[in-house]
């Protein structure tokens, strides 16, 4: 409860700054209109008219809230104008990509930890893959897969996986290597096999690292899914909402989609956090 006041203060400050910026950025259009009509602009007029434009440069917070409410609750969720509908399309691609990326990341990490050859051959490529801008890769993946007749969820999931496997890979390599000398020595004194060492020591030790990277990975997967919706001229998904919004100057629609995406990402990260807490608690690793 003590934290409530500072949190609300920061929130209020952001809203105030946002309103200020909206007035400032949207005023140009009003001045242009007034100049054309040959009239003067009063302060009251400026304040009221910058808040209600159809296509403002920067929509005011209440306009975005209105857009959000309209998109989330004002439509049937099967409607093409419903943010729930578009959010679901993007979410399903995100989850598929996240599962794909997590599986790939863990598998590669296991290989890298157990094989020096894999460490030297795979790791540089994994790092290189992340230095290529996703915006450059995404259209190629979509086009190549479309030429093979693969459309819809899978290409988007692959691009989401492309972004989300990396944090999982790095985290799991670190986690599987977390056991120190003494813990490995102990298993040596039992003459334990490599498999036993993996299942009984390395894998459980890596759990905290895995969850930390899953949080990064799931947010990255969402970004990947949205980016994947941009280049193909998709008509469904949050990415498509962003794209059509920018085509037609529907800034309110863009901001509403952005906020939906942000809220979605935050919820996904929080869900992973809850699973993390429950799992570590059941494992006895959290107190």
């Amino acid at each position: 409860m003590k934290a409530l006041l500072p949190i609300l203060t920061v929130l209020a400050a952001i809203v105030v700054l946002w309103y200020g910026a909206a007035v400032w950025l949207n005023s140009q259009w009003i001045y242009d209109q007034a100049a054309r009509a040959g009239t003067e602009v009063t302060v009251t007029q400026l304040l009221s008219e910058t808040m209600v434009q159809d296509r403002p440069v920067l929509p005011a917070p209440h306009q975005v809230a209105q857009g959000l409410w309209d998109g989330l609750a004002g439509q049937k969720i099967t409607s093409k104008r419903s943010l729930v509908y578009h959010g679901w399309i993007t979410l399903s691609a995100t989850m598929a990509g996240f599962a794909l990326g997590t599986g790939l990341g863990i598998l590669l990490a296991v290989g890298i930890v157990h094989s020096r050859a894999m460490d030297m051959s795979v790791m540089p490529w994994a790092i290189a893959s992340q230095t290529v801008p996703i915006l450059a890769i995404a259209p190629m993946v979509i086009v190549v897969l479309a030429s093979l007749g693969i459309k819809g969820l899978l290409p988007k999931a692959i691009i989401a996986a492309y972004l989300s496997f990396f944090p999982v890979l790095v985290g799991m390599v670190k986690g599987l290597r977390a056991p120190e000398g003494q813990q490995l020595d102990l298993l040596r004194t039992y003459n334990a096999s490599g498999a036993a060492t993996f299942w009984k020591l390395r894998l459980p030790s890596s759990m905290p690292y895995l969850f930390a990277s899953l949080k990064v990975g799931i947010a990255a997967a969402l970004v990947g899914a949205i980016v994947a919706e941009l280049p193909a001229g998709a008509t469904m998904g949050l990415g498509a909402r962003l794209l059509s919004g920018s085509y037609y100057g529907q800034t309110i629609q863009i901001w509403a989609a952005l906020f939906t995406a942000a809220a979605l990402a935050a919820s996904l990260v929080m869900i992973v956090g809850v699973i993390e807490r429950v799992t570590l608690k059941r494992m006895g690793m959290a107190r």
Partner: protein, 260 residues
């Protein structure tokens, strides 16, 4: 006569480092018989831990002969001839105390019922009955170390190697654990190799004290204790005890004089 449990002949171990070779062990000769309690004492860098690790096949000697139960250390390790207790308890935080003690039994493929029976038995041996369901963080440092001893006792190794197991504990807890360790040794009849840098601890526990000195790591004195096997804590005030402690101290000092 029975073959010795551990036998070292002209054992050498040289680590190659960037600053040149380091003689961790030089011409170490030692015989340990069945049922002995042998302490290794000396300043850091004298090779006492390294010697213990050689016995456990965690280090490879670079020269000489080492036999454990008449096998090479590597074969002895594969035959699971010894239990090893490290300085840190090193319990898995994600396993209960019982789960930790069970770890070697799972790895060695004991039957489920046998595992539970053994866990029960060794936990009572280290006076931890009733703590099986607790997690390590719920136990004090001394109790954690006892659990790690139980873990080393859970399978049928007749050698127990202990590397400064009580080094991180305070004096009072250490006294109590020393007393318990002696009882445990009497009950199980294991051969124990015990690394320490505490003179009273070495004298109180051992039937044989091996005094070592550093650079190069070597044995400067081997003292056969004249104390009886039955040892109450008060024995540490007896003249006999003090005489042995004195000889250990002399041995440690001699090792240093050699260096200067």
């Amino acid at each position: 006569m029975k073959a010795p449990v551990i036998e070292a002949k002209d054992l050498n171990l040289t680590f190659e480092t960037n600053d040149g070779p380091v003689h961790a062990l030089k011409d170490v000769n030692l015989t340990i018989d069945q049922g002995e309690f042998v302490s290794f004492i000396g300043p850091s860098g004298c090779g006492k831990t390294t010697f213990l690790r050689c016995i456990a096949a965690l280090e490879q000697p670079t020269g000489g002969v080492l036999r454990v139960n008449s096998m090479t250390p590597e074969h002895a390790r594969q035959a699971r001839s010894y239990g090893y207790v490290f300085q840190a308890a090193g319990l898995y935080p994600w396993r209960t105390i019982a789960g930790n003690v069970k770890l070697p039994l799972e790895i060695m493929g004991y039957a489920k019922a046998e595992q539970d029976a053994r866990v029960e038995k060794v936990l009572s041996l280290v006076d931890l009955q009733g703590f099986g369901k607790k997690f390590p963080w719920q136990l004090s440092g001394g109790m954690q170390q006892r659990a790690s001893i139980a873990r080393a006792l859970a399978f049928d190794a007749d050698i127990l190697l202990m590397d400064e197991p009580f080094g991180a504990l305070d004096e009072i807890v250490r006294d109590k654990l020393n007393e318990e360790l002696l009882k445990l040794w009497a009950r199980t009849g294991k051969t124990i190799g015990f690394v320490t840098h505490s003179i009273p601890e070495a004298v109180y526990l051992s039937t044989k004290i091996v005094v070592m000195s550093p650079r190069p790591g070597r044995i400067t004195d081997v003292i056969d204790s004249t104390l009886p096997r039955e040892r109450p804590l008060e024995i540490r005030d007896s003249p006999e005890f003090l005489a042995i402690a004195h000889r250990v101290r002399e041995g440690l000092r001699a090792g240093h004089a050699y260096e200067e």
